[in-house]
């Protein structure tokens, strides 16, 4: 304990026993840590307290003797005297429970919360036994749908203010509120305004009764039918910690785990409800080979031997780079490692990419000093040049919002378009590529052309060398080529060497891919082909002689007839590659396409061979989040049909080539990663599952001893539904979740790898084309719910996929003579066109047209061209 902490300790007495607690800590928390659990409903460790349910009343001594005080609202202080076990306290608890129950319906047998309900549980433990209420209960229509995802049963509501507080304070979507007074107080939405928050599922998670239920889980299971395993969401790069629950081999629910460093217990709805897609009946469950226009099922053996011979044929040409591999965001670190080893260690091709024109070069990511999320949310200042975080990495948005709201950091945003971050920003500056360059070079200089930004940074105490600044770097506008963003970052990092970067790309395991060589020119541990370590050279016999191709170059090669064999491993370029025109024509021109997929996506349905892959929760492994934090993902259900984990497929293919990748389990792979990659030294399965499971481990492990935290104390009432499954669920769910894992482990003895320096990567500013006459600038961005196999296969989420609209400002609309709801024709550079309904939106800059990626799929229309630095489109009334 540091002196700082010990100085801040106070001594108080609880039930006559002296305890020490941090001054200012809430009494309910201090008591719990000392082993005294005080019952509660409205208290929640991640919400500001309101003290309304009155369940936590205890006697506290004041100037006029002992009186009942809400322990969730009272900070401890020196000499405080507290009684939690007295007749008076007991009577107050009885009273509150009896009051809560008088109007509470007798729904338990049919209520989803039954068996994991804090009201049920605390009534049993603290309640009066029977009710003396003989009157008619209050009635409401039940339940009502307050959004596509959430149902509200007001009869069951105990007005604890958790959902309303969450929506307002945490999510910033104050769409549900208390209405009415007295015992007719209800929670409800405003007329004609559904609870359409990206975070609505959290309210269901924290509701202490069955008042809020989620459409995908309603009536699906009982707590005692469930089993669970800890895992990490892979729907975006945040990697929120989750509890995966299932019943009878079907996934039923994800609940957010409270990790201090990551998600604070929250999830976004896309992550939370995405499990439905895994249960989908439309999964690919058998290898399939193309016969003319359709597929026929085939066996693994013949599929693999066909692949073997295709590889041999392609290699016979003498140029292994005629074989390419594109890796998708479904992949675990182990999957990535196995496929990269197959490509770069066995076949000898470096043409491996995990980005589809929407990312950033691996070398650039590897060269920029990396910030953690915790560093970002406590930085002196944050500069965001990124896509809309609320749309792309929603829980990171919550973390940032919370930090800014509580004054822990300040934000400035830079970009071409407005985003959800603007509301949180001190300054939001609109820039052109030229201005972005100026900004990068002189942001902290007195002569800066951006005095408002410089003023915020200097007021916040950011050093002239960038000390204290964290940059959120992503693809702010997908209509700008990635080279602009890369050059910006490199330039900025050169002028501000102490600034750190948090790469805010969305793809789930983009970071693992960069760290493990899933991009051209890099090898595991971020080393280059030239700097491969001796262990790696020994394990990877056939390293490529020269750098290979990224996605764009692979497609261009295909157009030239130079790509014989392409593996799409969880990758769907026809849907996801930015320049869909290029992707479509290139894929039509590849010799042989093998798709390893979970669904028949646009790309796999036109592949030559499709292999069925195990989905999330059907395999074990690890994933790396955007800050380089590694955590486990675990298997909860078995795959349908003949699906296999992606890494085993790579191993099998190697065997066809008479090579042994050398591992038989995900754990083996992790061990090999830790052996060959200096970045991952010190990592082990044991460490990830036992001691640091909740928060994962940031690589490289720099400390001499890994900081090991005891597993978070789990307040069963903060997130009902986890402890209950553990206590009464199926035997298989009795994991070590509640272990107090304070195992001492040595840290990494080896030196962490030297950081690749920004000096070694040149910023190359592309030449932005002059805007052609009669065109508009294009703003191209994502919304949370865009088209994509996963969402389209989730019955509930698929209803939320954004409509194809184009947005322009009212001024620009006037110039076009167009009005809200009109149909506009948008034409790309090559003349491909598409019709969009017009939405007038003055947050869009004048002269810009905004399109949402993934809201339309029109093969002939590709507004973004991979060979343009900045994209312009023609817009006219249809």
């Amino acid at each position: 304990m540091s002196t700082d902490e010990s100085q801040n300790l106070v001594t108080l007495s609880i039930d006559g026993r002296e305890i020490k607690a941090k001054g200012g800590e809430l009494l309910i928390e201090a008591a719990e840590k000392s082993g005294v659990f005080i019952p509660r409903f409205c208290y929640h460790n991640r919400l500001p307290q309101v003290g309304v349910c009155r369940m936590c009343l205890v006697e506290v001594k004041g100037p006029r003797g002992f009186s009942l005080q809400p322990s969730c609202y009272l900070p401890v202080s020196e000499g405080m005297e507290v009684i939690t076990q007295s007749e008076k306290v007991k009577k107050a608890q009885d009273g509150v429970l009896e009051f809560l129950l008088i109007n509470h319906p007798l729904d338990c047998p049919t209520c989803d919360k039954g068996g994991e309900c804090p009201l049920q549980d605390q009534t049993l433990t603290y309640g009066p036994g029977e009710s003396r209420f003989a009157e008619e209960k209050r009635h409401w229509e039940k339940p009502i749908a307050i959004s596509e995802l959430v149902f509200l049963d007001r009869e069951r509501c105990i007005q604890c203010d958790r959902c309303t507080r969450f929506a307002d304070v945490v999510a910033g979507d104050a769409l549900i509120e208390f209405i009415g007074r007295g015992d007719h107080t209800e929670v409800n939405v405003f007329p004609d305004r559904p609870f359409s928050s990206y975070f609505s599922g959290n309210t269901v998670q924290i509701c202490p009764v069955g008042a809020l239920t989620a459409a995908p889980y309603r009536f699906k299971a009982r707590p005692w039918d469930l089993s669970q395993v800890e895992s990490s969401c892979m729907a975006c790069s945040m990697g929120c910690r989750i509890m995966v629950q299932s019943s009878q081999n079907g996934l039923t629910r994800y609940l957010g785990l409270d990790s201090d460093s990551v998600n604070h217990g929250w999830l976004c709805d896309k992550g939370r409800f995405g499990f439905e897609a895994i249960n989908s009946a439309d999964r690919v469950t058998s290898p399939m080979i193309r016969k003319g226009d359709s597929f026929v099922e085939t066996s693994w053996a013949s599929a693999l031997s066909l692949i073997g011979s295709k590889i041999v044929d392609a290699k016979a040409s003498g140029d292994p780079s005629r074989i390419g591999i594109m890796l998708g965001s479904r992949l675990t670190n182990e999957d990535i490692y196995a496929w990269v080893k197959l490509a770069k260690g066995v076949i000898g091709t470096d043409s491996v990419d995990s980005q589809l024109g929407d990312g950033l070069r691996g070398e650039v990511i590897a060269a920029l000093p990396r910030a953690t999320v915790n560093e970002a949310v406590s930085a002196k200042a944050v500069l965001a040049f990124t896509g809309d975080i609320k749309e792309e990495i929603p829980v990171l948005f919550l973390r940032l919002r919370e930090a800014i709201r509580n004054g822990r950091t300040k934000l400035v945003t830079v970009g071409t378009r407005s985003s959800s971050l603007d509301k949180l920003s001190e300054v939001s500056a609109r820039v052109t590529p030229d201005q972005a360059r100026l900004l990068a070079m002189e942001v902290t200089k007195d002569s800066s052309k951006f005095p408002e930004i410089s003023a915020v940074l200097s007021k916040q105490g950011v050093g002239a060398d960038g000390e204290g600044l964290v940059v959120l770097l992503g693809r702010e506008n997908l209509a700008w080529d990635q080279s602009i963003v890369e050059a910006f970052a490199l330039e900025l990092s050169r002028s501000l060497p102490k600034a750190k970067f948090l790469i805010t790309l969305r793809g789930s395991n983009f970071s693992g891919a960069v760290d493990l060589g899933g991009v051209p020119r890099l090898l595991p541990g971020r080393s280059s082909l030239e700097t491969a370590t001796p262990v790696l050279r020994q394990k990877w016999a056939n390293l490529p002689a020269q750098g290979g191709r990224g996605a764009k170059e692979m497609f261009n090669a295909a157009l030239r007839g130079e790509l014989d064999l392409l593996f799409l491993v969880g990758s769907d370029p026809r849907q996801d590659y930015l320049d869909s025109e290029l992707a479509n024509s290139a894929l039509d021109n590849v010799g042989f396409v093998v798709s390893v997929d979970t669904y028949l996506s646009r790309s796999s349905s036109s592949a030559d061979l499709v292999l069925p892959a195990a989905a999330f929760a059907e395999k074990a492994g690890t994933t790396t989040n955007l800050e380089g934090r590694v955590f486990t993902v675990n298997q909860k259900v078995t795959s349908p049909g003949l699906c296999r984990p992606d890494w085993t497929i790579a191993s099998e293919i190697a065997l066809e080539l008479e090579e042994d990748l050398g591992f038989g389990s995900a754990e083996d792979i992790l061990d090999e990663i830790a052996e060959v990659s200096p970045l991952h030294w010190g990592l082990s399965w044991h460490r990830l599952t036992k001691s640091a499971a909740l928060d994962g481990v940031v690589v490289p492990i720099t400390a001499t001893a890994l900081s090991i935290r005891p597993r978070a104390m789990l307040d069963q009432i903060s997130t009902p539904g986890i402890a209950s499954v553990w206590n009464q669920g199926l035997p298989s769910s009795k994991t070590s979740y509640f272990d107090d894992g304070t195992i001492e482990e040595p840290g990494s003895a080896s030196q962490p790898p030297a950081q690749a320096s920004v000096a070694s990567v040149e910023p190359i500013w592309p030449v932005a084309p002059v805007q052609p006459l009669g065109t508009m600038r294009l703003g191209y961005s994502r919304k949370l719910y865009g088209q994509g196999e996963h969402l389209m296969n989730s019955p509930h989420l698929s209803k939320l996929i954004v409509e194809a609209k184009c947005r322009i400002s009212s001024k620009t609309a006037k110039e076009l003579g167009a009005e809200m709801g009109d149909s506009l024709r948008v034409a790309d550079k090559a003349g491909g066109e598409s019709l969009f309904e017009l939405e007038i939106d003055d947050s869009v800059g004048d002269g810009i047209v905004e399109l949402i990626r993934g809201s339309f799929s029109n093969p002939g229309f590709s507004p973004v061209r991979s060979d343009e630095a900045v994209n312009y489109v023609k817009v006219e009334r249809a």
């Binding site: 309304v52 349910c53 009273g95 009051f99 009415g180 007074r181 007295g182």
Partner: protein, 432 residues
């Protein structure tokens, strides 16, 4: 004839206008305070006056002001939400002497160093809102509000805010939430004592309309003159809102402790007695939150401590008389119903308890109660106000909670027989 302070002008025609107010010596106290007195000196006079707050809690005004945290930004909020059944004293003052209120507000703002004052008036006071707003406008034009008032260098703005239609918005912290544009949920004390963390987080003094209306007189005549009226802690006058079964209900300003309940009720100048042949059954002495007193207490003087010693409170100064033709059960039920409607709904005991108790009381009144219901009701009350003591303890955030039991417990204690008649005869024996 006793001195009138706050109602001295209310009967003069057009008493609400600036011209009449000025004719009557209006805004002289403000001039005196601003030009001749330091803020401390004004505070001192109010402290010396011993004036207790007139809003219900009866806290010494001078002491409250002295507890204001001395942050740079401080606010004054005037509480004119007056929404309790039977309380209608502020109603009279805002309609008939709005300038007196404004002047008191301005002097107080000066004394406590507030840069802005808010007058929160019950939303249903249509005429009151109109008159206070025009008084504010007139005072701006006259130079009594705004920049550099009367050349004193002191500046303040006064903002009128109509209430949001809820009784709970009269509770000072709920009022502050409501002023901030939020739902009127009371805040938890500690830490939200307005004098420390009030409006927009700044230290704030909340005072009642009548309290403010006394301030010009105190500045003009001195705190000592005020303290000379009344007895003990009960100094000055109070405006009693008398209602219920009396011949002449209305507002009566009386020197404190100068009259007894009996005199107020029976004096032909005041209540004028009851209907022929009737007698007092009970008196609710300080608004519907107060426990009842019986006929045996009619000779109590109308003073703060005197009523407190009898186990009740003078509260907001509204006095309801129940005669022997009225039903105690029904009266207690109606009052509970009011509290149930007006509970803000935050705290479990108040929200649910008020509804439950109301339902049982209603059932008893309608004739389907049982004897055990009485114990049940008392126990439910005990779960809101543990021990059923006076002054009460509470399991709730604000004192609306423990106000619920007052009438119910009084009625059961004082008129248990009457409850038994309802139960045995399966109905109410009174004619309504």
């Amino acid at each position: 004839m006793s001195t009138k302070i706050v109602t001295a002008r209310v009967d003069i025609p057009n008493s609400h206008t600036l011209s009449v107010y000025l004719e009557q010596g209006g805004y002289q106290s403000l001039r005196k305070a601003l030009l001749e007195m330091t803020p401390e000196a004004v505070q001192e006079e109010v402290t010396v006056s011993g004036m207790l707050g007139r809003g219900g809690a009866g806290f010494e005004t001078g002491r409250k002001w002295s507890m204001l945290k001395q942050d740079l930004v401080r606010y004054l909020v005037v509480n004119g939400d007056e929404s309790e059944p039977s309380t209608f004293k502020d109603h009279l003052l805002v309609e008939n002497d709005p300038h007196q209120l404004v002047e008191g507000t301005l002097i107080t703002a000066y004394a406590i160093g507030a840069s802005r004052a808010f007058i929160y008036l019950r939303g249903e006071f249509a005429l009151g809102l109109e008159r206070v707003q025009s008084a504010i406008n007139e005072a701006y034009a006259y130079g009594a509000i705004g920049r550099n008032i009367f050349g004193s260098g002191f500046s303040v703005d006064v903002v009128l805010q109509p209430g949001a239609g809820a009784y709970i918005c009269g509770e000072e912290t709920a009022l502050i939430e409501s002023l901030e544009g939020k739902r009127g949920f009371p805040r938890i004390k500690p830490p939200y004592f307005p004098a420390v963390i009030g409006l927009y987080g700044a230290p704030t003094i909340v005072n009642n309309v009548e309290t403010m209306s006394n301030v010009p007189w105190i500045v003009k005549n001195g705190g000592r003159a005020f303290a000379a009226m009344g007895k003990g802690r009960s100094t000055g006058t109070r405006l009693f809102a008398l209602s219920g079964d009396v011949m002449r209900p209305g507002n009566y300003e009386l020197e404190m402790t100068s009259k007894t309940f009996r005199e107020l009720i029976y004096d032909p100048d005041f209540g004028g007695g009851l209907k022929e042949g009737r007698s007092v059954k009970a008196v609710i002495p300080g608004g519907v939150s107060a426990p009842w007193i019986g006929p045996d207490n009619l000779d109590l003087p109308l003073g703060q401590d005197e009523v407190a010693q009898a186990g009740s409170m003078l509260g907001s100064g509204s006095i309801i008389v129940l005669d022997d033709h009225s039903c105690a059960v029904r009266a207690a039920w109606r009052i509970t119903k009011f509290f149930n409607r007006e509970s803000c709904g935050q705290c479990t005991p108040c929200r649910e308890g008020s509804g439950w108790i109301e339902k049982i009381m209603h059932r008893i009144e309608l004739g389907s109660g049982t004897e055990s219901d009485l114990d049940l009701v008392l126990d439910a009350c005990d779960n809101i106000a543990p021990g059923l003591t006076w002054p009460p303890q509470q399991t709730t955030i604000c004192v609306l909670g423990p106000s619920i039991p007052s009438s119910v417990v009084s009625a059961i204690k004082m008129f248990r027989d009457e409850f038994m008649v309802h139960i045995k005869e399966e109905g109410c024996p009174f004619v309504h």
